[in-house]
């Protein structure tokens, strides 16, 4: 079979090297797709269509298949995130121990619901599946750092700080 052409990265941004390295390590096999998407999201923060198109072409995968995979998994996002992220764990223990409290506070105070980012792009609110720190329930992660037990006060203080909210 003649070798299919392999396109160069869409821009000269050096972060593409991180993506290329993963594909190369996995020998450009179709099975490298999910690992490559992880690398691309780690590098760029999210996955846009240019990125997906490039990965599809490089791994010789149909674009539809790539899009199907990206949208199947919760971890991948097609939208850029804000400067900071508050992740609220939706595990069972967190549900029983009142994860809703901080969500209602966010909604009331900043009109923010999970999946959204503030207009000034400072803060994204997301829900995550059980992070496995159930003894600390309800668990929240501020920029990937778990806080627990006394969570509500801790979380609201950090959020106010991020948003420059002094009230």
């Amino acid at each position: 079979m003649p070798a299919l052409p392999s396109p160069p990265p869409p821009t000269d941004d050096t972060r593409w090297q991180l993506v290329d390295r993963v594909m190369q390590r996995l020998d450009y096999q179709p099975s490298a797709l999910i690992e490559t998407l992880h690398a691309a999201q780690d590098a760029f923060g999210f996955l846009d269509k240019t990125t997906l198109g490039y990965i599809a072409a490089r791994l010789h995968l149909p674009p539809a298949k790539v899009f199907g995979v990206v949208t199947f998994y919760n971890h991948f996002t097609l939208q850029p995130k804000g400067e900071h992220t508050l992740a609220v764990c939706t595990g069972t223990a967190c549900h029983l121990k009142g994860k809703d409290r901080v969500l209602s506070w966010m909604k009331e105070r900043y009109h923010l619901v999970p999946g959204e980012t503030t207009a000034d792009n400072k803060l994204s609110l997301v829900e995550v599946r059980c992070v496995g720190a159930c003894a600390l329930a309800p668990v929240m992660l501020t920029d990937n750092t778990p806080i627990g037990k006394k969570t509500f006060e801790e979380a609201t203080t950090i959020i106010k700080e991020w948003l420059g909210d002094e009230s």
Binding site: H38, T90, A93, L96, K97, C130, C134
Partner: protein, 538 residues
Amino acid sequence: MNREELKNLADEHSRHLEGFTHHILVCAGLGCPDNEAIIAGLRRVVAEQHLDKQVLVRKAGCMGLCALGPIVLIQPGEITYHNVHPGDAEEIVAALGKEPVPRLLLSEDLPFFTRQYKNVLALSGRIDPESIEDYIAAGGYGSLLGVLTTMRPADVIRTVQESGLRGRGGAGYPTGLKWATVAKALGEKKFIICNGDEGDPGAFMDRSILESTPHAVLEGMIIAAYAVGANRGYIYVRAEYPLAVKRLQRAIHEAERKNLLGHAICGTSFDLTLQLRLGAGAFVCGEETALIASVEGRRGSPRPRPPYPAGKGLWGCPTLINNVETYANIAPIIRCGAEWFASIGTEQSKGTKVFALTGKIHNAGLVEVPMGMPLREIIFEIGGGIPDGHTFKGVQTGGPSGGCIPEEFLDAPVSYESLSALGSIMGSGGMIVIDETSSMIDVVKYFMEFCMEESCGKCAPCRTGTVQIHRLLTRFQERQATADDLAMLEELCDLLKSASLCGLGQSAPNPVLSSLRYFRQEYLDRMIPADTPGEANS
């Protein structure tokens, strides 16, 4: 590395460790926040007081009692401190060899410590998860060397079969039988997979095992690969567990450097390469055919079985898939023998099981008990009962695929057979305690919402049925349900159980069915009384 070299390495490292008069082990698991600051604080104090030669401050794996974390263990003396703050460092160091700090001290006699039987968790919290030398000094990789030098693959399989070990991922399939099937399957290439996609919300056994003793999982996998004849393998771990991923990566790298993994392992003709694969947030990938699809880089949709992965798995090749805890049981079985393992537990459920105790319970954390222990003992003695003066209502085992067991059955022993007779399942080991403040309908609706969101969408009953069941539960929650709704709820549960393609859909109705069995009155109380039909529209 051969047996002698392994022994030398173990001896040398033991001597190094024994050179210190005191060991301070700090739990560095996800459940103990601030542990880095505590370690840094302790190290600083030790350095300031020029105790570097006498006192060794080490990070360790999970010690189980997450509710009272951060936990610090002092050896010798088995002194356990709880709720430690970085500021406590000076006091802790000053008390070494003297009276322990009373403010922080946990009694050794707590049932939480005395009633457990640690097998899989035996080294958890006792060694540095990031040090292969620590694991080897504790006897690690001894089973592997023994297997490679003295046992044929068939002997290994027979040992595992005789131990009676059953899969710890949830379904409880006999591990030895699975191994024997893969070993017999025809195919030049065979694969081995470790299922670390612990998606059951409220369960964290696998996270903790991977974070605390990653080498124990690797050792089990290497032995398994040797037994079934696999030369390549994957460890599939949730992306939500970054610390477990980091430690596994390091463990694989260290094992490779010590020739315990890779080409010609320990000078034998056996090769095995292991790679990590990150999950990307899909509960259904815990189902083995979905997990395989995900490792292949595809959407994690399950496919009908048969063919089973043992015959046709990854890229159509025979594939052995076991869960993290299952692999972690292998090295102890080889080391202590099948009879030892089979002597623990019940007739049909052998060995020990790790449970994640959470919810409305005092001692939330990780426990390991022999199979057959009554639920009451786990919850009220080890777990310390229900806090804040509340009363026990039920315990959910098996998460969204399991059921809720009420007070009257708390004397049932934990085993695959008794939990399934009670309409629940063993599951992977999540145990969520519910008190009287929670409505069962709310809990069940939470699980149904989870299944609805996590359904892959491939098969019609699960994709569409979970939506309708969730809607019906909402009607009960809002006290708008009718007798027809109750009938429809039961009909749909039966449909999903019987007709769904994979385990997710087939078990999604379990929480509903079990609550209908034990807490039916809560449903009836939330129905519109038959003689006032007009309220339906109010």
